[in-house]
Symmetry: C2
Subunit: 244 residues, 2 copies
Amino acid sequence: MKHSVIILVEPQLAENIGMVARAMANFGLSELRLVSPRNGWPKKGAHSAASGATHVLEGARLYDTVRDAIADLNFVFATTARERGQMKRVFAPDAAMAEAQRRLGAGQGVGILFGRERTGLENDEVSLADAIITFPVDPKFSSLNLAQAVLLVSYEWYKLATGGVLPFDGGRQSPPAPREMMMSFFDYIETELDAVNFYPEDKKPTMTRNMRDIFHRLEMTEQEVRTLRGAIRALAEGRRLRKP
Amino acid sequence: MKHSVIILVEPQLAENIGMVARAMANFGLSELRLVSPRNGWPKKGAHSAASGATHVLEGARLYDTVRDAIADLNFVFATTARERGQMKRVFAPDAAMAEAQRRLGAGQGVGILFGRERTGLENDEVSLADAIITFPVDPKFSSLNLAQAVLLVSYEWYKLATGGVLPFDGGRQSPPAPREMMMSFFDYIETELDAVNFYPEDKKPTMTRNMRDIFHRLEMTEQEVRTLRGAIRALAEGRRLRKP
């Protein structure tokens, strides 16, 4: 499947362009287009901010106008923080990426326009887009940094494209210990605690059940039961050794 | 409801701390804790990077150790890009924020640890946390910038807390025009096109239906129908005016 194209319109700061490239690479996007970057291109500082995402920066294509940059695409989103009085469909980033993937799957080219750092996209540029993406931000503080906006779109893109699979899942290497091992562990600690008169008279049944609950909740593996049992044994033996 | 606490462990760059504050403010978070920032605090440059989120920076609390910073909390997440061989539950940002909101709703204090820019959290620091958050990044380019990581967590936080409501929804001010107005519009353009012999012989029924489909698809409001009808009238009248 083709990927969504990220299009920055007159970006100014090298750091932002670099951070955009990094954010794209974090989430598997690679096609970057730049429309008339302020003060020219390439910019000093973009590479270091990209933090290794040089393939995105080096593959970036330059255009003079938004019209040129979107000419070969079939569907274009414009990102904007504010209402433009244009009667377009408005998408959240996740819904937009679902729409983009549906279209990309059907062979369409899809692009997302991001405006200038201070002033965003001009109304005329928004009017070249099919639909709008806006972000679910706090209305009291709604100004997203350029690279942060690209990050959120890229993140939702990748989350959808991969089903949100994580680089690792912390899945247990080992299953919970067999119940036989747990019951033997209970017998052991209850015997040791009895030996030191831990249980006040008449409280033993309740306290035993409560403590078994603590250990059940841990869902320990065999290795963990052995570790904990060893620690308790060390305490008990150490005490016996210290005693004359 | 209380909010999740963002905890940065030995952050180095003023720009990152400022961008973290901005990202938090974008998504309605305000409680920031800093554990031993490298080269002291406050840092020059943090305020300008915060781009107005000074209330977050100025409210930031300083701690010497992770232990101190999490002491009053009931549940702590550690963010990490790599497996640590610790048998903790691993959450994606969205699932983690669902868990955080459930706990906050029950009156618990919840914090999220973010590590140093280059080296992340130490294993010992991760071992103080109850669970892990990791990000669904491209394994080929998995290094997220510190502020970007905070942004993703904050974004998922706010999306969940608000039901993903957008600052504006592009809802139409006006409903689609009544069908009577559309049929009158069709009559008008079909008459004008007939007058200039637009339709090849025998094709008129098909072409008429196809063109009506184009206009139906627009779901135009009354105002839009008037605008388009005016544009067609201008073309037709202009032509008649130009003709001697």
